[in-house]
Symmetry: C2
Subunit: 245 residues, 2 copies
């Protein structure tokens, strides 16, 4: 009873990871691979999101947390439930049906989708039980089920979210340079932002705190490091009722 699965409800997780080096926003996918009995034909060979069935004694948030932990070993990462997907045909591509039959899944499953924000470097890709791999958001491989749609909607939600709340810092290490923040925003929003204006804007925020430290190990002029103070942000926060229609 304790771990009894709810067979028609799953939680799928879009794990976004930002790579400060390559300056790219990535999605963590796992491989879906199946050969025919004889081993001669490849029946399924694509990628999907990670997800599990909900357990009877869990909240949806619990399930999402469990999915991420199993996949990456990480806990306490930023997560957001952003949408439920329940189309009766969401799992009925040709390869999806083969896969579902093989795995014994319920064809009529609705999924509650979450996204997570973290740093690619925090995920250990050795010991790669699930053949997980990072793919840049703008260069995804072939994706099974309705997971491409789910990723796309997660990404749209993320773009809106990071304009209104300081979630961007979840994608960066605790200590960062202003230019790193500048680059995450550009990657995530897929736009160019004037560097000088951006710096001024950010440095003027009281919750962006300059540290008595500079970058080390860089081969050029080391940049000033900053941190984001969630405490100060929360204290200062006041809702902005700007009607922007």
């Amino acid at each position: 009873m304790k771990f009894e699965k709810i067979t028609n409800i799953s939680v799928d997780c879009v794990v976004f990871g930002y790579d400060t080096i390559s300056k790219s926003l990535n999605v963590l996918l796992m491989k879906r691979y199946l050969e025919s009995d004889k081993g001669s034909d490849i029946l399924v060979n694509d990628h999907v999101l990670t997800g599990y069935h909900m357990h009877k004694n869990e909240t949806l948030d619990d399930t999402a947390t469990r999915v991420l932990k199993e996949l990456t070993g990480l806990t306490n990462q930023y997560k957001k439930q952003f949408k439920a997907f329940g189309d009766p045909n969401r799992l009925s591509g040709e390869k999806d049906l083969i896969w579902i039959k093989h795995e014994g899944f319920n064809l009529r499953t609705i999924t509650v989708a979450y996204y997570f924000l973290l740093k690619t470097e925090d995920v250990d890709l050795k010991n790669n039980k699930y053949q997980k791999q990072w793919f840049p958001i703008n260069n995804l491989p072939e994706i099974g089920f309705d997971h491409e749609k789910i990723i796309f909607e997660a990404y749209e939600d993320l773009k809106i979210k990071c304009l209104a709340e300081p979630v961007i810092f979840e994608l960066l290490p605790d200590k960062f340079t202003i230019n790193e923040v500048h680059e995450v925003y550009q990657s995530v929003l897929d736009i160019n932002i004037d560097n000088r204006n951006f710096r001024r804007k950010l440095i003027n925020k009281k919750y962006i705190i300059p540290l008595d430290e500079k970058q080390v190990g860089v081969s050029k002029k080391p940049a000033q490091l900053y941190m984001f103070s969630k405490d100060i942000y929360k204290k200062m926060f006041q809702k902005n009722y700007l009607i922007n229609i």
Copy 2:
């Protein structure tokens, strides 16, 4: 098979209705009432949202549409899926358990919650099969299940939404005065907005179109009527990447 219920998945709908006369934002609730066998004790007497179980052949949006139609007879109203609720204890208040037993519901049901936007006047409260009733959002009665939480979260989502998109016009008749828009915003956001500044802002929008008509049947100076053009809005729309953190 055609109408087979999925017994552990429901869609609950928060129906928001704005009343131009009383200038209040309301929620449509139905009564949950149960007496003991002898009829001597009232076991349950409170209010809940309307919701139904999902059918096997439906999308989540279909289910939500069906709920609204059954409750109000209306179709084609603005709707938004905003959150899934899956806490294992979400239905386990004392009265909830009595009710669930009486109705034969599944205790472990997750619900996908939607909200609708419409005008109170569009709902006919005669022929009141479900004992439905409007309650002002800031003066709700006793509410069963986790539905108060659901209403609260719907309201928070609505407030954010109406700052960023012209959904407010879903709460008004096709022809409206600027002051009516002013008042909906004030009611929904629960703030005061300077009338002159608001007028200027709105009148300058190309998709707010003055009509060759004035109010009729009012006992004072009749106000200019306007309409909202979704087409013009969509044509003009361009994403605004203002980082507001």
